[in-house]
């Protein structure tokens, strides 16, 4: 059964999440003979992208809110938070800004609060960049970007005039970490080596590690 990825209006998506048509009484129709022989129903007669997703063709049933310009700023900041280095790819290579966009656009209460902080914060960042250097954040030199990031990376020490930026940075960093490490391309650098099949018994913990941790008496 084919299902085209669709984009719902926000109102429809909200209804979808709220789940369900209202309860209604259906007048019983005919009592059918019990010896009927019919074709099996279609495999997924009640499939909905929320309650019964098709894993092979995931549907993203809401519109994403961020504009292209906002995404550029988001990508640029995400790459400063999680750059390409020996421990893995850059945030922009694993879709972190797209994930944040999807996350803050989801019609779920918690995400809507997050949306205000992230969108407001991205604008704050660009306003601050203009105030200091007369350019958008993503157009600044790395040194200029770091100057601003250092002013907002610690909400407990930031100056009052940077406080909004600092709150935004906290949230943006958390979401960036979530988006980054849920991409399998980052797992080697993180140290997750599972999701592969192993034949035979589960190998357990190597002896040298058991010894190192002093667990010989319980292994």
């Amino acid at each position: 059964m084919s299902q085209k990825p669709t984009s719902l209006s926000r109102r429809d998506a909200l209804k979808w999440f709220a789940g369900s048509s209202a309860a209604s009484a259906i007048a019983p129709a005919i009592i059918a003979a019990p010896n009927e022989t019919e074709q099996a129903p279609p495999s997924f007669p009640t499939r909905s992208a929320i309650y019964d997703p098709n894993f092979a063709k995931p549907v993203y049933p809401w519109e994403k809110v961020l504009a292209t310009e906002e995404l550029k700023t988001a990508n640029s900041l995400a790459d400063i938070i999680l750059p390409k280095d020996a421990l893995g790819p850059a945030a922009s290579e694993v879709g972190v800004a797209d994930f944040i966009n999807e996350w803050i656009s989801a019609p779920i209460d918690k995400h809507e609060e997050e949306s205000e902080i992230i969108r407001g914060g991205l604008s704050w960042l660009n306003t601050e960049s203009f105030r200091r250097f007369e350019k958008r954040f993503e157009e600044l030199t790395p040194e200029q970007q770091i100057q601003i990031v250092d002013d907002i990376c610690d909400a407990t020490k930031s100056k009052p005039e940077h406080h909004i930026g600092a709150i935004f940075f906290q949230h943006f960093r958390s979401l960036s970490i979530s988006g980054y490490y849920t991409h399998s391309a980052t797992w080697k650098g993180l140290g997750y080596v599972g999701n592969i099949s192993i034949a035979g018994p589960y190998p357990g913990v190597p002896d040298e590690l058991i010894k190192k941790l002093g667990l010989e008496d319980v292994a």
Partner: protein
């Protein structure tokens, strides 16, 4: 290969089974293997684990990186489809005055909730069947451990359970040759075990319905079905075709290689192979039909695809629709007694119980920066703690026990896996942040308790006089109140977990029982709305799940449990369904039904 090909029914069956989960699947298999003509009616859609399970799918292939949503409360890849604590078009309500709303989980799919569960398979123990005699609370079972233990043996052999015999009081051992070997513990589990030694909490191999090695189909089928060559042939082949666990993919997603137990992978395929089972999916049962002689003649269901009303007929009706749905069908059925079908005792809908649940976890410094190790394992726990203070309830201030489930370490990263960085490394960015992520990832461990709740008069379900679902069927209305036993037990759990965590080198602040206890219905172990018992005046069924009022009506799900021991209900539902199906066939042979 679809499980079901045609939507066909015969004019008359030997047995109709409503529901396709643990109880319904087991009854269908046993009856079909013995030549009974069976119709299974399932409210949800057909579900094919072998093609639908997202075995190695990674989060970036999913919306919101696989995070939970209101329609998928356990995450995008959870096996449950068309289910959850809310099902579109099928509301339920909570009665005014309830202390906290009951959450009713449903799985509208073939195989029901067996597609998603922890596979934790613990036998109830001898004390559990005599609970009221021990502490004066609740009621005893109308059977003893000795009555059910041979059926536990059979179920464990049939579905495949890994574990060890630990010789702990009231956590029964299995006979030799029944269990499969348990997988070795992971790092955090070993550390917990060491902490348990210090704090006096025994931590032993878990028992889970997961194959750790191939099944010996020939041997098992011969032992399980003596004198039934056809059953031996079908089961030997089917068991031998199941693959053992390959130590990847969380069991909550289901299992396409059939290594873990689901009704849809273990019970329904061989039942269909007999040729004696028909299945109708997308069929919502409204009521049991009663003939003029007071016996059940069949069921009335709504074909969800056409919205037609249909009656299916049989000599025997088995309800295995899940605890609350089964009592709902009884209450909605027309009977001489206005209180609902099979309800001369007035116990239908009463004695609703869930498990007491609470959890506590912490960052564990000793787990930082360990060499990367594949800790996926069996997709669930490898160790657990059976209740170890069986004889000390007088001192404890609560009457019944709990077991502890535990886990942590290097699981497949989720959206929340590195939330620890918000506190451990709150201001970093760049390569330093990535080094910290590597340091703290997997360095956490947590404990969850599952405790026995005592039935009380304030926990029940009944029909809501004012609301129907989209099929026009009156819905359930719940009422709930925990007793002090549960609240104190939850507090004991919190204190025990905090001790274990401190011993492992972590930091934990235990919560009060009232703050810690999880929502009623949240643990999804609800049982008891049509309990079995010794007498018709006090219970809905006898020990063989046969209703006292209607001889050819059986209830084979969690609804019949008179108590809800801490050991999670699925294994016992399976054992009762098998035992009761044998009794049912005996009674039919004798002409009593």
């Amino acid at each position: 290969m679809p499980l079901i090909t045609d939507r066909k029914t015969k004019p008359q069956y030997d047995v109709i089974i409503v529901g396709s989960g643990a109880g319904g699947g087991m009854a269908a298999l046993i009856l079909a293997l013995n030549g009974m003509k069976v119709l299974m009616i399932e409210a949800g859609r057909n579900y094919e684990p072998q093609v639908e399970t997202p075995m190695f799918n990674t989060p970036e292939m999913a919306p919101l990186r696989g995070n939970k949503t209101p329609g998928k409360p356990f995450g995008y890849y959870d096996a449950t489809v068309d289910g959850g604590w809310q099902v579109p078009g099928e509301p339920y309500t909570n009665k005014e005055g309830t202390e906290g709303a009951f959450w009713w989980w449903r799985s509208r799919m073939l195989g029901g909730r067996t597609n998603h569960w922890g596979r934790i398979s613990l036998r109830f123990g001898p004390h559990d069947f005599r609970c009221a005699s021990r502490d004066g609370l609740g009621v005893n079972w109308p059977m003893s451990y000795d009555d059910i233990s041979p059926w536990y043996d059979r179920v464990e052999m049939l579905i495949g359970v890994y574990g060890e015999n630990s010789g702990i009081e009231n956590a029964p051992d299995s006979p030799p040759g029944v269990l499969q070997p348990a997988p070795k513990p992971r790092i955090g589990e070993l550390m917990a075990k060491k902490a348990g030694k210090k704090t006096g909490v025994p931590i032993v191999a878990a028992r889970r319905a997961v194959l750790s090695q191939p099944m010996q189909g020939q041997r098992l089928a011969k032992e399980l079905f003596p004198n039934n060559p056809k059953a031996q042939e079908i089961m030997a082949l089917d068991m031998s075709l199941r693959a053992p666990c390959f130590w990847a993919t969380d069991c909550g997603r289901g299992c396409s290689i059939r290594a873990n137990f689901q009704s849809t992978t273990v019970l329904i395929p061989p039942a269909l192979a007999t040729g004696n089972l028909d299945i109708i999916t997308d069929a919502m049962v409204r009521e049991v039909i009663i003939g003029p002689d007071g016996k059940a003649t069949g069921v009335h269901y709504i074909d969800k695809t056409t919205r037609r009303d249909v009656v299916a007929k049989a000599r025997v009706v088995i309800l295995a629709a899940s605890t609350c749905e089964t009592s709902r069908i009884l209450l909605n059925s027309k009977a001489r007694d206005k209180a609902g079908l099979a309800n001369s005792s007035g116990q239908v809908g009463k004695n609703l119980m869930d498990s007491v649940g609470t959890s506590l976890g912490s960052h564990i410094p000793a787990m930082e920066n360990l060499p990367p190790l594949n800790e996926d394992g069996a997709g669930g726990i490898h160790v657990y703690s059976p209740w170890w203070l069986v004889s000390q309830h007088a001192k404890l201030g609560f009457a019944r026990g709990y077991h502890i489930e535990m886990g942590g370490g290097r699981r497949m990263p989720t959206v929340a896996s590195l939330a620890v960085l918000d506190s451990k490394s709150p201001t970093t960015y760049g390569s330093k942040l990535k080094e910290d992520a590597r340091r703290y990832y997997g360095a956490s461990f947590g404990f969850a308790g599952r405790g026995e709740m005592i039935p009380n008069k304030d926990c029940y379900s009944e029909l809501d006089p004012n609301v129907v679902d989209q099929w026009g069927i009156p819905v359930l209305r719940f009422h709930w109140k925990w007793s002090d036993h549960e609240i104190k037990q939850a507090e004991h759990m919190q204190n025990t977990f905090a001790e274990l965590i401190e011993e492992m080198g972590g930091k934990a602040t235990p919560k009060s029982g009232r703050d810690a206890i999880q929502r009623p219905g949240e643990i999804i172990h609800e049982v008891g709305t049509a309990r079995m018992g010794e007498k018709a005046s006090e219970s809905v069924t006898n020990q063989f799940c046969q209703t006292w009022d209607v001889k050819n009506l059986f209830l084979m799900d969690g609804s019949v449990l008179p108590s809800n021991p801490d050991k999670n209900p699925t294994l016992t539902i399976l054992a009762l369904a098998w035992r009761s199906s044998e009794y049912l066939m005996d009674e039919m042979k004798k002409g009593n039904i």
